[in-house]
Amino acid sequence: MSFAYFPHTPDDIAVMLERAGVSSLEELYSDIPDSLRFKGEYDLPDAMSEMEVRRYFEALDRSNTKLTVFCGAGAYDHYTPSAVKYIVSRSEFLTAYTPYQAEISQGTLRYIFEFQSMICELTGMDCANASMYDGPTSAAEAMLMSVASSKKRRRILVSSTLLPQVLDVVKTYASYHGIRLDVVGQAGGNTSLSSLDALLAEGDVAGVLVPGINRYGIIEDLTGFADAVHSSGALLAVYSDPSSLAVLKTPGEWGADIACGDGQTLGIPLCFGGPYAGFLACRQNLMRKLPGRIVGATTDMDGRRSFVLTLQAREQHIRREKATSNICSNQSLMALFVTVYLSLMGPDGLKKVNDLSYGGAHYLHDRLLATGKFSDVFDRSFLKEFVLGTTLDTDVLQQSLLDAGFFGALRTEEGYVSFCVTERRTKAEIDAMVDVIDKIG
């Protein structure tokens, strides 16, 4: 048998068996009890050639419906510049391991340092880690971090306006970790400060998690939140869309202690939900509570500027059961994705992405209202995503759009429909979708 990925010829195997002091490959496993040896036939397809593998995936691809995306809800269809995809496909980055051997990993270490710097710049925080799995898990880690920092307090408050999947993941982590979670109500589409005050007054709160842009696409007004949270001795964490932070008030400016969210909006393709890259950043005083990989600058034996994984005393491989997180990797390649994206976009490009998304979303919003089939639910500022009430049957609406090649009008838990427009959507696409809606009886 020969196979493209296994270099062994029969002669090689014979030489190697002799050196290993065994007479057959079988004998390498003689310590495994016979009852545990797998003797059956694997229920797997026959080995395929590259061409056959390609055919399998091309068939999968053809069976999926190609849709123009007018939906956000935690995953946004932003454009990825070609240069980003080219850089992240370089095998020196792609096929490397975690940069333990700093001498031959300066490429990875440097881009992570750049990533951390850019996340700090966008969020207004002092330090950031090397990235997390995704947005919702970064929010869960922000919660664990708040609890670990407070030592004794075991209660976390989360806003009801957070994306449903963020709330759900935070709830899961909290339930196993023995954290009491209470949900802060909303008023007119914004997290309610009076509801927050009432819950804080009950005491024992280690941290509060609120969104920057919420599940309705609304830009939250967090005026007074940091004061309320800090005066009760708790930490404030803000869950943000980092792309929007080119324009919107940063978690730092709102007075937050922790910033978290999903880097997907910084050019990472939708790809059915992953891989993305969460981010987690904090104030200087929380630096040693920040989980995950962190890269720092230093010098080498010859005085050259160098970068290393640092503050490892925080991490699971040192602290074992005393670690506050079990994270032992990052989404490194996706952090590179974000770093190259932000390098290309710069402050002006990222602002322009927001302007185009904002303009398109407001155009669609106004056109939908003009059909007479929709109504505003909240009268608040939004960026690229919004919800509307509708007189249409929401199932019929979504299916009519799907039939015409559009994915939009996502039904929310509250019975609204949600739309999102990014810079990738053209006026022609928006007009065509509104035409479809116009024709629905």
């Binding site: 048998m1 990925y5 062994h8 195997i13 068996l17 290993a20 002091g21 079988e26 496993y29 310590d31 009890p33 040896r37 797998f38 694997y42 419906t65 370089r90 020196e92 980055f93 096929t95 391991y97 700093a102 001498e103 300066q106 750049e114 850019m118 710049e121 330090c127 799995y133 995704d134 963020v166 899961t172 196993y176 932070l245 080119a246 324009v247 919107l248 008030k249 891989p275 230093t298 034996m301 160098s306 640092t310 503050l311 699971q316 040192i318 059961e321 670690a323 079990n326 990797s329 490194s332 390098s343 710069g346 402050p347 185009l356 904002y358 303009g359 155009y363 500022s381 799907l402 810079e423």
Partner: protein
């Protein structure tokens, strides 16, 4: 590799741009957002042209070592070849553009991939069902422990709050247990790293939720008493968790599901050839025995949502892009080639072990599986340490093995070659390892000051931790930004 000292921020010049976006069709822009909701000044992101950006990152890549660069014998990390077809498939535009919340009816191809990959992983491991959601090995561990806890809780068995972990286990095991709200109890290892069954018996009672194990263990040795261990743990009402970090040598040979394990995770970035990406993204699917199926976490691609589910553990259904790569590899392997994967990995490891055991100390001299551990140099008279050997290897164009793990020995050198390395590569590595052993005696200072040919040499980690510099701050750059934005936020 050549030293290149720039950071992208240092290439920035006011007014340069690296993006190309269409002119706006819209009447409105973010100018309309109320000032109270906007940031005070533009973020100080770099302003760089596209060619300068591409050259910068290409220069950075030239300071990096990957599997495609050379041999990567990193123990416990399974640095096998990452096939290129995998990348092409995951990069197909059709897959990249799928929104995770699209109705199931519009993504039958995605649903089929999840089903086919789950079935394949079940066939390979003997587990009844898989969730493909966990993003990494550690995330898989946490998910598996959540399933374990949820199982006990749903049965009203509320007192099971302890999990048994071998003292030789990787730190992630106890850390995952702690995050899941479980207390860790250590079971002792025998000198060969296998579990001390006598000690295990003294730990088992009705407070035990389960045990976490690797098999083969950290020293690359098979736990021959696994059936007895499974009987004991099940007998006290606990569950067995299999940490799939060491699954590679069992491909084609044995299945955790047949050994009595109830829950396991796989590292698709190790065993199934998806690249490590410099630390991720990976994928850590979790498999369970039949009776634990209802406890699998959300979200599910099969459309079911049993009440017993362990909860939602990810935004969406895992790293789909990584899952495609793993399945492409499994299709290439097929039922035929998988038979050879484990045995060739074990052959490569034993070949290196036998070729070097006269100049490096081998604490447990037995046939190993995919990896083995030396306890430093045989001749330590000149004071050359494992760290020195690791750094000297870099000079010769090899990645270092895993060092100072496991903690069972003071000078651990953990070597895992994988099945995709040729005899010639192994011989070259063996030759260099032997040469370093000679150098350690003949010219110890040279080895102690290695590496000599790398872009940087032994960066000062103590200084990095004592005075952390975790982000770029340069006055000239900031001043430039200050002038442009007209505000002095930085």
């Amino acid at each position: 590799m050549k030293y290149y000292d720039k950071l992208i921020f240092e290439l920035s010049r006011k007014g340069r741009q690296g993006y190309s976006l269409p002119d706006t069709d819209w009447a409105e822009s973010t100018v309309s957002i109320p000032d109270g909701l906007k940031r005070a000044s533009m973020p100080a992101l770099p302003e760089v042209s596209e060619p300068d950006t591409v050259r910068h990152y290409t220069n950075l890549s030239d300071m990096n070592f990957g599997v495609d660069t050379g041999f990567y014998p990193l123990g416990s990390c399974t640095m096998k070849y990452n096939p290129k077809i995998n990348e092409e498939i995951a990069g197909m535009a059709g897959f990249q553009d799928i929104h995770p919340l699209q109705p199931r009816s519009t993504v039958p191809g995605v649903i089929k991939l999840y089903r086919d990959l789950s079935s394949a992983l079940s066939a390979i491991t003997g587990m009844a069902a898989f969730t493909l959601n966990p993003f990494a090995g550690a995330h898989g561990e946490l998910t598996g422990l959540m399933i374990m806890r949820r199982y006990h809780i749903c049965r009203g068995d509320l007192g099971r709050t302890r999990v048994i972990v071998p003292d030789s286990a990787h730190g992630t095991n106890p850390a995952s247990a702690a995050v899941c709200g479980l207390e860790t109890v250590q079971v002792k290892s025998l000198p060969d790293g296998t579990i001390d069954v006598g000690h295990l018996k003294t730990l088992l009672d009705d407070t035990v939720a389960g045990i976490m194990m690797t098999n083969p263990n950290t020293l690359g040795l098979f736990e021959t008493r696994i059936e007895e261990i499974a009987g004991l743990v099940h007998g006290c009402g606990g569950l067995l968790y299999y940490d799939g970090a060491n699954m590679n040598p069992l491909l084609g040979v044995a299945r955790p599901g047949d050994m009595g394990f109830d829950i396991m995770h796989l590292n698709l970035h190790k065993t199934f050839s998806t690249p490590h990406g410099g630390g991720g993204p990976g994928a850590g699917p979790v498999g369970v025995a039949e009776r634990l199926k209802p406890y699998l976490p959300l979200p599910r691609t099969d459309g079911e949502e049993p009440e017993e589910n362990a909860g939602r553990i990810s935004g969406f259904a895992g790293n789909f892009g990584v899952l495609m790569k793993a399945y492409a590899y499994i299709l290439m392997l097929g039922r035929q080639n998988i038979r050879m994967a484990g045995p060739l990995a074990a052959l490569n490891a034993n070949y290196i072990k036998e070729s070097l055991k006269d100049c490096y100390r081998l604490p447990v001299d037995r046939v190993c599986k995919h990896e083995f551990v030396f306890d430093g140099l045989e001749d330590r008279s000149t004071g050359v340490t494992t760290l020195d050997v690791a750094k000297r290897l870099l000079d010769y164009g090899f990645h270092a093995p895993t060092v100072y793990f496991p903690l069972l020995f003071h000078q651990s050198i953990m070597i895992e070659p994988t099945e995709t390395e040729s005899l010639e590569t192994l011989d070259a590595f063996i030759g260099v390892m032997r040469k370093i052993a000679r150098e350690a005696v003949e010219d110890p200072d040279m080895v102690k000051s290695a590496p000599h040919n790398t872009p940087v040499r032994r960066p000062d980690e103590t200084e990095a931790a004592r005075h952390p510099v975790l982000k770029f701050t340069d006055n000239r750059f900031n001043e430039d930004n200050y002038n442009r934005c007209g505000t002095g936020r930085l």
